[in-house]
C-alpha cells in the first residue's frame, strides 16, 4: 500500500496549520481511512495538545530518525479513533536535528502503512519548511483573508510549485459579516491574487478555541460551522464533489451588477 503524503503549510504563523492538520486528520479517520499526523514543528510541538494526546508521548520523530526507537514505538494511537495515530515532534531539538532526506525516508515508511500521512509544517520557509515538504506528494496552503498571510502564502506557493506542482488552498477564519461590510477580502479576491485551486473555506468560529481547550478538534462537533466546513473539505480530499457554499456574500445582486460594469 502507498498512501498520500500531504503537507499543510502557510508561511505565516498562527493562521491555523496545526488546527487544520488535526481536523483534516480526524475527519479522514472518521471516513475509515488510516491516518498518521506528523508534527513537523521540531522544538515547538503543538499537534499533541490540539489533539488532546499530550500526556501519551513517549518517543518522538527525532528519536525515530536517530534510531533510538522504532517508528511503531513513537506513534501515539488515538483511543477515540483506532485509525488515527500521531508522530509527535521533539520539544528539545532544533529544526536542524533532521535533514530533508531523513524526513523523506520516514514519510515513505509511513506511507506503506497509512492511507494518509498529514505533515504539519512549521511557520517560515527555512529548514523546518524544507524538512516538512521533503516527503510530501501534495500540499495544502492555509491562509486567512488578511494582507500578510496572503502575501506569505504567495511566497510559499511559489516555492511549492518548484518542487511538487500546484498546492490547494484553504481560506481560514473567514468572517462573513466583515466581508459583507467590504472590510475583508472575499474568496474571489484571495483567488485573484494567489491563482490556485480552492479546497475550502472555514468560517471564523469561536468553537475552534473551545475545541482546542478540550483537545477535541472542532470537526467532531457536527453542529459547529467550522466543523462542518472541515467535514466538507475532508470529503473533497477523498474525491467527492462537494460544492463550496457561498460565504463571501459581499454582493447583493445590484452590487454584483455594479462590480461587473466597473471592471477595467
Amino acid at each position: 500500500m502507498s498512501g498520500r503524503a500531504i503537507v499543510i503549510t502557510s508561511g505565516k504563523g498562527g493562521v491555523g496549520k496545526t488546527t487544520a492538520t488535526a481536523n483534516l486528520g480526524l475527519g479522514l479517520a472518521r471516513h475509515d481511512r488510516k491516518v498518521v499526523l506528523v508534527d513537523g514543528d521540531i522544538g515547538l510541538r503543538n499537534l499533541d495538545i490540539i489533539m488532546g494526546l499530550e500526556n501519551r508521548i513517549v518517543y518522538h520523530l527525532v528519536d525515530v530518525v536517530r534510531g533510538r526507537c522504532q517508528v511503531r514505538q513513537a506513534l501515539v494511537k488515538d483511543k477515540r479513533f483506532p485509525h488515527l495515530a500521531l508522530m509527535p515532534a521533539s520539544q528539545v531539538d532544533q529544526k536542524e536535528a533532521i535533514s530533508p532526506e531523513q524526513m523523506r525516508e520516514l514519510v515513505a515508511q509511513l506511507k506503506e502503512e497509512f492511507d494518509f500521512v498529514l505533515i504539519d509544517c512549521p511557520a517560515g520557509i527555512e529548514q523546518g519548511f524544507r524538512n516538512a515538504v521533503a516527503g510530501a506528494d501534495e500540499a495544502i496552503v492555509i491562509t486567512t483573508p488578511d494582507v500578510s498571510p496572503v502575501r506569505d502564502a504567495d511566497r510559499v506557493i511559489g516555492l511549492l510549485q518548484n518542487s511538487m506542482g500546484d498546492p490547494q488552498l484553504i481560506i481560514n477564519r473567514m468572517a462573513i459579516e466583515m466581508v459583507q461590510r467590504g472590510d475583508m477580502l472575499d474568496q474571489q479576491d484571495v483567488l485573484d491574487i494567489l491563482a490556485v485551486h480552492l479546497l475550502g473555506i472555514v468560517p471564523e468560529d469561536d468553537e475552534v478555541i473551545v475545541a482546542g481547550n478540550r483537545g477535541a478538534p472542532v470537526v467532531l462537533n457536527d453542529k459547529s460551522r467550522s466543523g462542518q466546513a472541515y467535514g466538507r473539505i475532508v470529503r473533497r480530499i477523498l474525491g467527492e464533489d462537494v460544492p463550496i457554499p457561498e460565504l463571501n456574500g459581499r454582493g447583493g445582486f445590484l452590487h454584483r451588477l455594479g462590480k461587473l460594469f466597473s471592471r477595467r
Binding site: G182, D183, M184, G252, L254
Partner: protein
C-alpha cells in the same frame, strides 16, 4: 433585520468602498514585486534603460515615466508621457550624430 441593514444587504454597500478593496490593490502590487524578485536598484536600472530607449525616438517627460507590474496576465507596463513628437528631421539628425 433593520430596514437599513436590509437595503444595505440588497445593494451590497454601493459607494461604501471598504478596506478590502485597498487590501487587494496593495497585495496585487506587493505580490508581483515578490514574484519578480526585483530590487529597487534593478528596478531603477530598468527604468533608466527604457527611458533612454524611448528618448531616442520621442521626447518624453522623464520625471513622469511610470513602470507598473500587472498581475494576471502578468505584464510590465510603461507609461511615458510624451512632451512633443519630434519632427522626422530632428530624429534623423539625432541618429546621425
Amino acid at each position: 433585520m433593520a430596514w437599513g441593514t436590509f437595503v444595505q444587504r440588497l445593494f451590497g454597500n454601493i459607494g461604501n468602498k471598504g478596506s478590502a478593496v485597498l487590501a487587494k490593490d496593495r497585495l496585487q502590487v506587493v505580490v508581483m514585486y515578490d514574484r519578480l524578485g526585483l530590487s529597487a536598484q534593478q528596478l531603477e536600472a530598468l527604468r533608466k534603460d527604457i527611458m533612454e530607449t524611448i528618448s531616442r525616438h520621442v521626447a518624453i517627460d522623464s520625471e513622469r515615466v511610470k513602470i507598473d507590474f500587472l498581475p494576471t496576465p502578468a505584464a510590465v507596463t510603461i507609461t511615458a508621457p510624451v512632451r512633443r513628437l519630434r519632427t522626422r528631421g530632428e530624429a534623423q539628425k539625432q541618429q546621425a550624430s
